[in-house]
């Protein structure tokens, strides 16, 4: 647990499971799962049979954004190891690619893949890119570095975010004028946060997440 408590904000959340409590925190505070630490609290005796899981989370407030915008110093040993891993992985998949640093932020390293086969490496709905990124982050976790790696190609991440937000607005318009709620396709916490944030100021509708798994669905509901 973090010791410098004055640097962190704390909040408590409850859920039927640890995962649910975490998801609530992610959505309510609009932060990423990687950006906070959790402490599991002893269950409160509340109802007769339902024991909710209580968690306390520690997170950086506000200031972190400024911190993140600053370029982090070059950590070339680490970067070379990660670039080597991604390049070799793609090579063993049977493709040629050039992997380079896209951005350096506090605790985040952005990599870019340049390849003639970039459309395959991105995959449908970015699933291949996401898999490469996931495995790279597991590898990075083993290097004992407090870093997260974001892997992009052909600016896919930004285009994907824009596509989600456009779709959210379009659906919100339809809900507002038809008066009927609509369920969006399943999305991960990061994608859902984009939608909730984008539609926060949209008049005449509200957004709610449905479902239990990591990939919940957002429902856009008209309000009278």
């Amino acid at each position: 647990m973090p010791s410098a408590t004055e640097k962190y904000m704390t909040r408590e959340f409850e859920g039927r499971s640890e995962q649910e409590a975490i998801s609530k925190a992610v959505e309510e505070l609009q932060i990423e799962r990687e950006d906070f630490d959790i402490e599991i609290l002893p269950p409160k005796r509340k109802g007769f049979f339902k024991k909710n899981v209580r968690i306390k989370i520690y997170y950086n407030d506000g200031n972190e954004e400024n911190l993140e915008e600053n370029e982090a110093p070059i950590n070339s040993d680490f970067e070379n190891q990660v670039i080597e891993f991604v390049t070799t992985l793609i090579k063993k998949m049977g493709y040629e690619a050039k992997v380079s640093v896209n951005f350096r932020k506090e605790r985040k390293l952005g990599l870019n893949i340049e390849s003639d086969n970039s459309s395959i490496l991105i995959g449908r709905k970015g699933k291949n890119l996401d898999s490469i990124q996931l495995l790279t982050n597991v590898f990075v976790g083993r290097l004992d570095q407090d870093q997260k790696v974001i892997i992009d190609s052909e600016n896919y991440r930004l285009r994907h975010e824009e596509r989600i937000i456009r779709m959210a607005y379009k659906t919100a318009e339809q809900v507002k004028y038809s008066g009927r709620s609509r369920l969006l396709e399943p999305m991960n916490p990061f994608e859902r946060r984009l939608v909730h944030t984008a539609l926060n100021d949209f008049q005449g509708i509200e957004t709610k997440s449905e479902g239990d798994s990591l990939y919940k669905q957002i429902r856009i509901i008209p309000i009278k």
């Binding site: 070799t88 992985l89 998949m93 493709y95 995959g123 898999s131 996931l134 590898f139």
Partner: protein, 77 residues
């Protein structure tokens, strides 16, 4: 080759890379890759809710295959 790819990925993720073994079984339409790792490492290869195993399978299916055969990954325990 797929065997090489799986070995590379798995060896980068586990604590006991020397215990990683991939046995290739050639079928008519698919290639089956039987993966064996140290007992302590099984969780690392599968991941929470199977996320890591799923990512390895996704990458496997995205890799350029020779002869258009499908590669299937089986994790033995």
């Amino acid at each position: 080759m797929e065997k090489d790819l799986v070995e590379y990925i798995v060896k980068s993720l586990v604590d006991f890379p020397d215990d990683v073994a991939v046995n290739v079984v050639e079928g008519e339409k698919s290639t089956i890759l039987e993966l064996k790792v140290a007992t302590e490492d099984i969780g690392k290869v599968i991941g929470k809710q199977g996320r890591i195993a799923k990512a390895i399978r996704t990458i496997l299916s995205a890799s350029a295959t020779k002869g258009g055969k499908r590669a299937v990954l089986e994790i033995l325990d």
